[in-house]
Amino acid sequence: MTIKEKQEEVIEEFSAFDDWMDKYSLLIELGNELDSFDEAYRQEQNLIDGCQSKVWLHAELKDGKIDFQGDSDAIIVKGIVALLLRVLSGHTPDEILENDLFFIDEIGLKEHLSPTRSNGLVAMVKQMKAYALAFKAKQG
């Protein structure tokens, strides 16, 4: 699936819910189900301290595709991290750089990615793009 298709899939899943609390239940579920973060990567340089919550992010290039791992100490943030990983992990640097992230807006979680929110997510998305740039440069 392309990044675009994955985003549409997420939007589809969330569209089932009218009520905020149901959406957040799903996020919590996604957060709980997220693959556990490799403790070896829980290091200072992988930490994004959003003041309200912490986010960890690790990235590796495997066969030309970026494999992201992420975590957060807040379960709702972790749920959003899970969505971001699902959409972006396993894609090439170019794909990641070319695609806009429109699903966050569409499913009504935009506020969590506002620069005035101090949950670490804005910085995380920036960091994911930065990894893509860096790996692209390395590949030449």
Partner: protein, 406 residues
Amino acid sequence: MAFDIQNIRDDFPILGQKVNGKPLVYLDNAATTQKPVSVIEAEANVYRTINSNIHRGVHHLSNVCTEVFEDVRQKVKDFINAPSSDEVIFTRGTTESVNLLAASFGETFLNPGDEIILTEMEHHSNIVPWQLLAQRKGVTIKVVPVTDGGELDMQALGEMLNEKTRLISVAHISNVMGTINPVREIVALAHAAEIPVMIDGAQAIHHVPVDVQALDCDFYVFSGHKMYAPTGVGVFYGKRKWLEQMNPYQGGGEMIDKVSFSGTTFNDLPYKFEAGTPNYAGIIGLGAAIDYLKQNHLEEIWNYEHQLFEYALDKMKSVSGIRFVGEAAQHTSVISFLLGNSHPFDVGTLLDKLGFALRTGHHCAQPLMDRFGIPGTVRASFAFYNTKEEVDHLVEALIRVGTMLG
């Protein structure tokens, strides 16, 4: 006279809002309070009818505006029972007031090796100014520990006082736990050793009676925006004997007597500490806030708030997995808690979706968070426009949120 909560609520236009489709329940009063119509209009009316730069004007508007402005100084003096309105200095807020003291008192009286005493429950605004000063001046900061129950360890405080101690600066009420500190005792203790005391009244000025003469404190500071007044307004009260000796704070218009490049002399109190055009429209709003509080009978407001707090604490105890941070005997209407092992951010975010405005995080009191070994708390802080029904709804919401977060 009965305290009519519906009338009161009608005075605060914002309270009628819906948030995320739910009626707003505003419980973030320790961060900032809402404003009654009379305050909003007082400030707007300055601009509609009398706006003009104050002091030294010969024209009508300037004189009227100056008089209304100076009247507020009188109102503040009465509100805190200061001996003289010359001792009432307007600032931008509590933070600026503390910085004023650190700069002026610090530059005048402190020398390398001197000590000042703070507490583990201080707001960053009563910590960092002293750290910056300590760096500049080679002063040492001592910290009074907080007990498990969220009170000051008074014995430790007593043992810290020595001949090098130059100042104690302490919160009247903790912004995290609502603990009312025994400030009168602290002042008595300090004065026995001839040490002055600053009280950070940001969380106290609107919740408990403040009488600076009864407290006998040397300095008392607070913010307007936390007492139903506009943003950008603060008060610094200081005893005349200190203010007269202290170096001026900032330089500029107003605070001078004569300026020349060969030598400048300073104005009398209170102007010596007020450089530049003050936020006179905001300050006139502060006057309206004081009037509003008095019209609604301070005693009744305080009683109501206290009942509401007791009701809330009692009800909230029933929420399974709730842990309170700070359970001091003397307490105002601020309740910090954690819900099981849930992250405060999660609790706050879900409550927001249900219409509740609560604050989460370290509340600008990281040393206190470190003391309790927690990253933050969820904080419900009540004002006299909150209701028992709101408390009931909060408790229902907490149960729901607690279940969701497992």
